[in-house]
Amino acid sequence: MMITLSLLLLTGTPALGPIPVPSALVQPLDISEAVQTTIAEFDKTYQAWVTKIQAANPEERKALFEVRPTADDAVKELFALVGTEPASDGALAGLAWIMRAPSPPENAEQALGLLAKHHVDSEDLADIVMRAGGTSETVITALTTIAEKSPHRKVKGCATLSLGKALMGDPVHGKRGEALLEKAAKEYGDIKIHGGRSTIGKVATGQLFESRRLQIGMTVPDIEGEDIDGVEFKLSDYRGKVIMIDFWGDW
């Protein structure tokens, strides 16, 4: 009944033309637009470079790869903008972009730190944390915070998986990485990632398998399956020979 009433009231309002925005509503400063402009400007530069690459011959291409545009300036601008309103949606968009921008990894680490501090409640962190890499203190602390404090199960799972992947194989933190991957597989295994093409469980299990069974010096695990014609065979049928295992596709 309430809804109907308010709808009636709304539709009953006479047209007033453009409504002036009271200046109080513009505050606090909305940085979204400035963030989008900075990103769009860099994308334009980058796209121009990509177009040149596509048109270039192999020699020119080599030279062009030497002058790949870096996002360093754009990143600097974005950090300055984010600094004015770190908890805003504009800051979230800017920091997410920095995480995948062509610029030194320290920038992505700093961005991740700020995301963990100011945006730990955001559902968007699920995809963002998957881009994290490295084993710096900043990354470890940020991913640990997100895994613990996020209210979203998917974000928690992705942060756990991402940290596990980063730490697995690290001489100092390897054991912790392994434990995190096991946790990711057990508690978050069903969660779909990579646009639905995989799950946290599959990725975590694959990572553990690679680390435990597929290192140089280990006996290769057997593969049983069928060939392209549907005939069953095993990798171990070829024991005694040197085998080059080639994961390939005709593309």
């Binding site: 398998f209 597929l214 280990m218 399956g225 060939d227 392209i228 024991r239 020979k241 040197v242 080639d246």
Partner: protein, 106 residues
């Protein structure tokens, strides 16, 4: 990739060396045609028609091609070798396999 693989196959023909592929193409009939066109003589596991198939998923493969080199005893000796480095590794490993065959030490 194919020309290099073909040359390895002919270089090591009748010696203890094999390429085993894990093919992640989508369509079986199309790849069968390509195998004929490209004279691909080595055998491949079928990865279920996807790069997210069971074998590549279990092996945590994230890039294509991904290569592993296994010695005659089944030990993983190299990962991701290409070109000359791959040929150097084979020059070392294949004679080891042959020596083992001779002494019957398998």
């Amino acid at each position: 990739m194919y020309p290099h693989e073909r040359s390895l196959v002919s270089e090591y023909a009748s010696r203890p060396f094999a390429i085993i592929g894990i093919n992640s193409d989508k369509d079986r009939d199309t790849i069968k045609e390509r195998i004929v066109e490209e004279s691909i003589t080595w055998r491949s596991f079928w990865n279920g028609g996807s790069t997210s198939g069971p074998i590549s998923t279990a092996w945590n493969v994230r890039g294509w091609p991904t290569l592993y080199l296994i010695d005659h005893e089944g030990v993983i000796r190299h990962k991701g070798l290409r070109g000359e480095a791959l040929e150097e590794a084979l020059k070392e490993l294949v004679p080891q396999a042959e020596a083992a065959l001779k002494t019957g030490d398998r």
